[in-house]
């Protein structure tokens, strides 16, 4: 029993202690350079966006890896994490199926799972995965229904190529990096300090900020309101599933299911 047989270790100094600041600075400079080049029309917009997204998502995964890797800590693992995400983002700018390159990140994470004991890569109960899939589908279906019936959006039928690229992007970059950082790293730290309500609120607010500042999100009022509405529910639910299972897998399943539904929407002209 921990309280009797183990030495008490006081909590870490700060919630954000141990960030890979040099790497984050490099990724920030990369994004700024790509943005500047795109603004000067020296670089096309698509690869510039890919560089920016890859750098941002790579920063999330690199921070998560830094915080959760076991001792002795690897100096190269965070850079490698950022690199695999970045490679996926840049690869996605090539022909349609090149988005498969996004899967480099989950494959690399899978091979590194033993060295990342705190990232929540453990196998969760099947019931939790089913619950995650059901939650993501429910929110996604609700979004489709609401958007198509009330907000003037249309629902399209996805082609296999689209589905594959969306799945690869969400499972390999968007959702994976979000869950790895916000649930596996940040929420994991927060829940070890504060009650669930406080930890999930904090993480949800930060997670919302991450999506609301995303330049790829349309900045119309109804989209912002919808994003706040659905992402709040998704984030809180994912926090709860991580809290119960100690794994980010149910959250990834929920997120992928939701974002696949989200990508079926298109603006009616």
């Amino acid at each position: 029993m921990y309280a009797i047989t183990d030495p008490w270790i006081p909590p870490r100094r700060s919630l954000l202690a141990g960030m890979p600041l040099p790497l984050l600075v490099v990724l920030g400079l990369l994004t700024a350079t790509a943005g500047a080049l795109a603004a000067a029309e020296l670089l096309p917009l698509t690869p510039a966006r890919a560089v920016g997204a890859g750098a941002a998502q790579g920063a999330l995964l690199a921070t998560a890896v830094t915080w959760t890797q076991s001792r002795p800590r690897s100096r190269t693992a965070p850079a490698m994490a950022a690199a695999v995400v970045f490679v996926g983002a840049v690869g996605a700018t090539l022909p349609a199926f090149a988005a498969i390159a996004y899967l480099v990140a989950p494959v690399w994470l899978w091979t590194q799972r033993c060295k990342l004991p705190g990232l929540g890569l453990t196998r969760p109960p099947i019931g939790m995965c089913v619950a995650g899939a059901a939650l993501g589908t429910l929110l996604g279906a609700h979004l489709l229904l609401t958007a198509s019936l009330t907000l003037g959006y249309g629902v399209r039928v996805a082609t296999p190529a689209h589905l594959v690229s969306w799945l690869a992007y969400d499972a390999g970059a968007n959702v994976l990096t979000t869950e790895a950082f916000f649930r596996g790293a940040l929420f994991d730290r927060a829940q070890r300090r504060w009650p669930f309500a406080m930890a999930s609120t904090l993480v949800t607010v930060v997670c919302l900020a991450r999506y609301l500042v995303d330049p790829l999100l349309p900045h119309s009022l109804e989209v912002m309101a919808g994003a706040v509405f659905y992402l709040t529910l998704l984030s809180v639910a994912n926090c709860w599933m991580y809290w119960r299972s100690g794994s980010i897998v149910p959250g990834v399943v929920a997120g992928v299911a939701f974002f696949i539904c989200y990508r079926l929407l298109y603006v009616l002209s």
Binding site: M1, Y2, A3, I4, D6, W8, H142, F229, L233
Partner: protein, 478 residues
């Protein structure tokens, strides 16, 4: 009901500001009351999902109108109401559970049991009632009675034991799920009698932690009572044992005294009979002068024996009245006293060899010469009495470390180890000595009293080959 309300609102094409939106509160409040926080939140989530499209459509269609604002407020109210009602219901349920737990604790305390059993029961009740994954109990002496097998000196339990204040650990262990641990001191009359540690994956609310602190006080009192009861039981058992031993000893003393009366009568009568017989012979018959001297010598020996017996009786009487033996201590060279005693027995007891070995010069002692003479004569006399004819009695005197030691070693049958401490008790005679010669059982008790009156010690041990070695140790003068 959520579906019914939503369908009705949709059918009537109502705005988010319609008063009918408050109907969503009914299932939310009901679910919160019935199923606690989880039920309230899930119902609120359902209500938000159902009512949300009305608000979003209003925002998309008309912008941030008053109706849209009312709809947003309603979404917030539904969410808060679900969580708050569920939380209050859960809190009320937990309060009831805590009362139940307290009752269970009190019931457990009412049963008479050992300290360990009581502590184990209490830990089990707390674990079960608080739905904890582990509960442990450590007593003030560091003994773990539940939950683990040892206490780490830097563990939360050790900290609470030392500082007497509750501790809440939000991250107990390195598992994938956050575990909380609450450690509270068990106090009784401002003293910490132990600590209670409870762990589980999931939160411990403030109320639960306060309740645990309350349990700690109740359990501390209970453990203290159990400890006092155990101490009282142990004291009663010890008292019973001591009374039993004292009773047995009194019975033994009584038996020994009865034996002594019979023995003393015999011991006194024997020399008196000899004196009476020899004196009648001398009075009624003529004897040659040499024969008269021999008879007179025999009579003198019997008179000495009578005198010794009477002296022993008098000394014993003084000791039993709690009075010290009368001795007149003075600076004394022990060597001549020892030599004189040995020489006396050499001359009078030719049936045995009596050897004296003095290792170097002996220092002076602060002693009564007559008392020392009595001690030596008693020990040498006993050795002669219980040794077979022709055997050797060795008297050895030496000085070392400020102590003068005199050994008297015989070649008799020896004294069983279990009886060596008893032979110095008044009236006690070993099982094998009664057949070997007369005796009152007082000599060695008088020897012991005399030696101790000089600040010395006397003890018996096995001889170097056979027999017994009696050792007298007296403090030497510097």
């Amino acid at each position: 009901m959520l579906i019914a309300v939503t369908a009705a609102l949709a059918a009537a094409d109502m705005t988010p500001g319609t008063p009918w939106r408050h109907l969503y509160l009914v299932p939310v409040v009901f679910a919160g009351l019935r199923f606690g926080v989880a039920g309230g939140v899930v119902a609120a989530l359902g209500a938000v999902l159902a009512f949300g499209p009305f608000v979003l459509r209003e925002i998309e269609g008309h912008g941030p109108t008053r109706a849209a604002a009312e709809g947003i407020v309603t979404l917030a109210v539904l969410t808060i109401a679900g969580a708050a009602v569920g939380s209050l219901a859960a809190r009320a349920r937990r309060q009831r559970e805590r009362y139940d737990a307290l009752r269970a604790v009190q019931r457990a305390l009412a049963d008479p049991a050992t300290l360990e059993l009581t502590a184990t029961r209490l830990a089990s009740i707390v674990k079960q009632r608080l739905r904890a994954e582990a509960a442990g109990l450590v007593l003030e002496n560091g003994r773990v009675v539940a939950g683990a097998d040892h206490v780490h000196p830097r563990s939360p339990a050790a900290y609470v034991m030392a500082h007497r204040e509750p501790m809440f650990v939000t991250d107990a262990g390195a598992g994938p799920r956050a575990r909380r641990a609450v450690v509270v001191p068990l106090t009784s009359m401002d003293e910490t009698v132990g600590v209670l540690a409870v762990e589980r994956a999931g939160d411990f609310s403030r109320e639960e932690r306060d309740a645990l602190a309350g349990f700690g006080a109740a359990m501390g009192l209970a453990l203290d009572n159990a400890r006092l009861a155990a101490r009282q039981r142990r004291f009663a058992e010890e008292l019973e044992l001591k009374v039993s031993q004292a009773t047995a000893r009194l019975a033994e003393m009584d038996r020994l005294k009865s034996d002594f009366v019979a023995l003393a009568s015999h011991e006194l009568r024997t020399p008196l009979t000899a004196l009476q017989g020899f004196s009648e012979l001398l009075a009624t018959r003529p004897f040659a002068p040499a024969e008269v001297r021999r008879l007179a010598e025999i009579m003198r020996g019997e008179i000495e024996r009578l005198g010794r017996i009477v002296s022993d009786f008098l000394d014993l009487a003084r000791l039993e009245r709690g009075l010290a033996l009368s001795i007149r201590r003075a600076v004394l060279d022990p060597a001549p006293v020892i030599a004189a005693a040995v020489e006396l027995f050499r001359r009078t007891r030719t049936s045995h060899r009596v050897e004296l070995h003095v290792d170097g010069a002996l220092p002076h002692v602060d002693a009564d010469a007559d008392a020392l003479d009595r001690v030596l004569k008693n020990l040498i006399g006993n050795a002669l009495k219980y040794s077979p004819p022709g055997s050797c009695i060795r008297v050895r005197a030496r000085a070392a470390d400020g102590v003068v030691t005199v050994d008297v070693e015989d070649e008799g049958p020896g004294i069983p180890p279990e009886e060596r401490a008893l032979i110095f008790e008044p009236y006690y005679r070993t099982r094998g000595t009664a057949a070997l010669g007369p005796g009152t059982g007082l000599g060695l008790s008088v020897v012991k009293s005399l030696v101790e009156a000089h600040g010395g010690t006397v003890h018996a041990e096995a001889g170097s080959t056979t027999g017994t070695r009696m050792t007298v140790m007296l403090p030497a003068l510097p």
